[in-house]
Symmetry: C2
Subunit: 732 residues, 2 copies
């Protein structure tokens, strides 16, 4: 498209906080391809180059997978160790976490891992005992102090070195993938600081998760590794293909769900996702998952974060509680998360730590909590939640246990869980939006899992004591294992996560990869669908869309239909009362005239026309390219002065003698600008912008140039139609 005789550096690049032109970038990539393909027939070296070019994409994917997997493993291990550090320290070496410390001591059995001699709580270490109120307060204090230290470090590092490292990063990544440029958002400093502060923030016990930030970390890896390959460094569209794959990698390492990750990238994050990227994302996601597994941070050689195995099928009637959980998730999804960000991170940390420590379910890390809630109680489980009265387990089946009455511990656990639910809900609303790396996946899942488990145990006890009720008859006879509270927890977690993010297929697939059982897809799907419908009915947007809108990013939502009956002429500029469109004539304008046009206006580009009278469109020239080219000509091209004439025509007419040499700029003009007629319905225009990734489009009437529509005009128009402030769209 741009065929420069002598390419001027900078022409064809973009400024910060601007939108890329997808058509031009993809065209550039095809040019590059064509060139390599032509050359490859000439020599063996060029053929080698062509082959290495073809495989560079795969190599890049491999590297992204390896690097992200390794980083995720490091984050997991560090966070685990630092979370345990809040409770105590290992005498064998301070770098061991609780579990690791007790593995090494042979004296303990697995059941008594809490009581291994080498692991000392802070009270034991300082005052020599773990008993009594004084030791308790000691541990309590140390817990709060560590939490404060971690969160202080996290917030200071983010503020000092990489302000882009805060939050989950997914709204910004969505915007970047749609073609926006935010320099440094995926840079090396963001990567380093986000990795470190993520560990600190998670370890501090704040109610936040590492899943969203892991997507950001993986995208940083992808972006940084792009610099190794010219093809990806130079082309903004190709780089976004890599970032789409990296987003898949992020979810893959967060949950150990490579297929779910790819679908997440496709459904939730990506904008331009060709099939080639699908295949490569899948590869990268797998590499990352296996890298993570070989690091084995969870110590169980499982790929997935929450591995569960359920033994009993579900009954059709159970769909009613599942739908109820879906409704709960939908309501949770409309909670205005992040609208009340408390800026004093330390206060929130202190409150969180103070309230969390006394309750064993909030004291443990959120992932552990979810893991425990998902768990189906086996015979050997010694946890509080599984302390059922052991009645008449006649069959020697270690797999399926019949429903049993709850023991005292279970009732205690129920109370603690109820308190934990209230605490988690309140603290998550306050925490999200703080200036530390924070994800929403895990806190949302925790809220849902607690609610689900509560409902599940309730149902179980109801079925046990009232198995003669009509609804339980036939499938809940005494001794039957008819209700699995762990499944309820899982359904609840799915519903809440779905309500917040509005994911659908990818969410179900992620959960399917966690359980591996196709039969539990139906409950998960019912809950996901209900929660999405409820959340959509109560308030249209998911959390990411809401944040994109709050930040005023120019993001053209691909899922939302434009449903108003306006025409291109209603949206285009200039409006009826405005001065006419600023255009450049293809021949005859002087450098001075063009420069004053540039100075007077702030448009990012100008249409080039045959003449002011005919308004016949010739092409379109970018402001940045024009500025750079004129500046360059003034400096390097002999004789170019303010009086020189600028020509966009193919042939320059002979100049009168003594006139300064002309400036030929056809090379920087886009000869194929997109046009629509003024009568084109706006829904079609929006469709074209979305599908082709345009920055601007010219409007004609009967072959005459009439106006211009930019992406920002469209977003403003959409905001106006939705009764929002059109000036909330901030960037170009």
């Amino acid at each position: 498209m741009d065929l420069l005789d002598e390419p001027v550096p900078g022409v064809g690049t973009y400024e910060d906080f601007n939108t890329i032109d997808w058509v031009r970038e993809k065209s550039k990539d095809r040019d590059h391809h064509r060139e390599i393909a032509t050359k490859s027939k000439e020599s063996a070296l060029a053929l080698m180059k062509s082959i290495s070019d073809a495989f560079s994409g795969w190599l890049l994917m491999l590297l992204v997978g390896l690097m992200s997997g390794a980083l995720a493993g490091g984050i997991d291990i560090s966070a685990h160790w630092m979370t345990d550090l809040k409770e105590g320290v290992c005498l064998n070496g301070f770098w061991f976490n609780h579990e690791h410390c007790c593995w090494n001591s042979n004296e303990t059995t697995f059941q008594e891992r809490d009581k291994c001699p080498n692991w000392k709580s802070w009270a034991e270490l300082i005052v020599g005992t773990n008993e009594g109120p004084f030791a308790y307060i000691m541990n309590y204090l140390m817990y709060v102090c560590w939490a404060l230290l971690f969160s202080f470090l996290a917030v200071s590092l983010v503020r000092a070195f990489a302000p882009y490292a805060c939050g989950s990063g997914i709204p910004e990544i969505k915007t970047i993938l749609s073609g926006f440029i935010i320099r440094g958002y995926l840079g090396k400093w963001t990567l380093i600081i986000k990795t470190i502060t993520l560990v600190l923030a998670v370890s501090s016990g704040l109610s936040l998760g590492k899943e969203g930030p892991l997507v950001h970390v993986a995208c940083c890896c992808g972006n940084i590794l792009c610099h190794l390959f010219t093809k990806y460094r130079r082309n903004e569209a190709k780089r976004r293909e890599v970032l789409s794959a990296a987003a898949a990698v992020g979810v893959s390492v967060a949950f150990g769900a490579p297929i779910g990750g790819v679908l997440f990238s496709l459904e939730e994050v990506s904008y331009y996702f060709p099939l080639k990227t699908l295949w490569r994302s899948f590869f990268a996601a797998l590499v990352a998952a296996f890298t993570l597994r070989s690091i084995n941070p969870f110590g169980n050689s499982r790929l997935v974060l929450f591995y569960v195995e359920f033994h009993s099928p579900w009954h059709l009637l159970e769909l009613i509680p599942f739908v109820l959980l879906g409704i709960f998730g939908g309501i949770w999804g409309t909670t205005r998360l992040g609208h009340y960000p408390v800026l004093e991170v330390l206060v929130v940390t202190a409150v969180t730590a103070l309230l969390a420590f006394p309750n064993s379910y909030t004291c443990m890390s959120t992932s552990e909590l979810i893991s425990e809630l998902f768990n189906d109680c086996g015979l050997l489980d010694s946890s509080q939640l599984c302390n059922y009265a052991n009645v008449s387990v006649t069959k020697s089946s270690s797999d399926a246990l019949p429903d049993r009455p709850a023991g005292q511990d279970v009732y205690t656990a129920m109370w603690q869980l109820s308190l934990a639910l209230v605490f988690k809900m309140l603290i998550t609303v306050v925490t999200f939006g703080m200036k530390v790396p924070s994800g929403l996946f895990i806190p949302s899942m925790a809220v849902g899992a607690i609610a689900g488990r509560l409902l599940g145990v309730g149902m179980e006890q109801l079925a046990y004591y009232h198995h003669d009720w009509v609804i339980f008859r036939g499938w809940c006879s005494p001794g039957a294992d008819c209700i699995t509270p762990g499944l309820y927890a899982m359904v609840g977690a799915t519903a809440c996560l779905g309500g917040v993010t509005r994911m659908t297929v990818s969410l179900v697939v992620i959960m399917f990869e966690l359980t591996g059982g196709l039969e539990y897809i139906v409950p998960l799907m019912a809950a996901t669908m209900t929660s999405k419908w409820v959340a959509d009915a109560l308030g249209r947007e998911g959390i990411y869309e809401a944040h994109i809108r709050l930040n005023g990013y120019p993001f053209l939502e691909p899922k939302e239909e434009f449903s108003h009956k306006t025409l291109a002429m209603d949206v285009m500029r200039p409006r009826r009362s405005d001065p006419p469109l600023s255009v450049i004539m293809q021949d005859g304008m002087s450098v001075e005239e063009v420069e004053s046009l540039i100075a007077e206006t702030s448009y990012s580009g100008f249409p080039v026309v045959v003449s002011h009278e005919s308004q016949r469109l010739v092409g379109f020239v970018q402001r940045r390219d024009l500025v750079i080219s004129i500046e360059n000509a003034r400096q390097h091209q002999e004789g170019v002065v303010s009086a020189s004439r600028i020509f966009f025509t193919e042939y320059t007419p002979p100049q009168p003698p003594n006139s300064p040499p002309p400036l030929k700029l056809r090379g920087i003009m886009d000869l194929s600008p997109f046009t629509v007629t003024d009568h084109t319905a706006m829904d079609i225009v929006v469709d074209i912008f979305r599908k082709l990734g345009l920055r601007q489009c010219l409007v004609t009437h009967n072959g005459r140039l009439l106006g211009i529509i930019t992406k920002k005009d469209i977003l403003k128009h959409m905001a106006q139609m939705a009764n929002r402030d059109p000036d909330s769209i901030l960037f170009n």
Copy 2:
């Protein structure tokens, strides 16, 4: 877009073998939506209508899933019964198949199911014994006769009632989904005849599978059920969304792999696949899978066709044989299947039956064969393939068996499998393309599975006898279960299927759903990638693309990049030597003039311009709409005669007295035709056509109309650039 004052029936519809205009269809749907949304605020009834409209999509999906699942179950059961009918009959009732017949008789144990007294082979029934050469010949003859009868019936039914029912149907469905219209291809007759003949063809023992045709059957269901809902009946774009989901349903019921089915539809079949369709497809695929399971045609309450469970992990070195299988699959994928269709179906059936009967691996149904090849030999397996010498099974692990030396039976099986491999390869090449419903998935998988099992057993014996070799040291010590021949069979099947269809992610996900083990994804992926690369290097196209090209369908491949440096002006018509473009002036042309223009040309539409001199574009009018409107006006509008003037302008100028009343046709004109400049690179034009689903695009130069590019022009140009005959593109 089309705002008719009084809509003329037929305006806005399409003729057979024509391409739809996606932009217009989607715009129509948005109009419909808008209308319902506006009305819904007026009355409770309209609100109800609006809600039912919103849920009609889900209801339709439910129905498609139920109907397809039920049909697939019926096909499975019938095919099973009729395949067994070739061997014998059940005395309890002729409608029982072999397995079912022997279930009912309590006298037999599972191991001896072949010898249950109620099941009589034809020899037993007729001459009273199953021993001796005479009985063998008797059975042989009956087997061939039944096969001939089935295939004769199949071919006659297809020829007599539904010629569209032959083949797999996937190439045509791809073409239809891309916007082409083939009336009757998805009609009720095709559905009925395809269902019946599919059972007949599969039962006749021909080397064909039911998976591809099941996709066609599901799409027929989708298309027929669309007629129940106005929204889908009237809109070609909406209907294609349903068909995309139906394609997912087809694969879901074929393999019991709903996620794989959705990805298959996305990756392989669909053209326009919005995210809403993804979610609905998933729902439909699940419903279908569960419907099929509740019918339980395989009698094992498994969702999947080939359920496998492997117990031992694979070793990194095994990637070498897996890649070898991938290469084999790639080569198999370039076999020119269907290029030698033998028209005499009965001859092929006879040859197939005659050659297949003596070899137990070709005599059984192909799905059973694949099932047996995938199977990991347990201790209790009594099949020939699992007859290993039982050496020192010390551990009481019923799961993992160590590698053992092969028994005599295994060697016999190897010989038979080698013969079966040659036979299957030859007969599949001949069979595919015959005029019966035939799929390629199962025969291809069988070829790959046989090759894989052969290699796997070879590797296993090599490792057993030479466990001291360097490559086996460390992981294949005696007594270790290091090589799983079933996994090799699975990898081989994946490779061959991948080579033929060039599926990637969807194939791996389908196979993953069959095994359920994430760790086997890497071998499957290695084989898929190798086979795709090898096949692409040897010959570019997959089987579906090849068939689309052979049939001359106007299909714009979304995966293939257009890589030539031509411009729009090189492709547009009229060419330099042609007569000028036929245009209609917006005012002043008489009915007679327009009618003669229509009669003289065969273009599907005409641009409307301001005047011949200025060539300023106003709009575009479809030939069909123009013909219908003029005809309608001549019949119903008083005074419209040949001399009447046709106006496309907004306001009709006052007519001189005594002149016939003018004909106002602005309503049928598309006021927003797509235009590109003559300097637009063809790769961009192709991209626009693909992404927006255009039928035609007008070409301008400096605001003047210059020419037109249709989808057919692009396809012809692409054929020309690839040194193929441009006249091979047949339809509009």
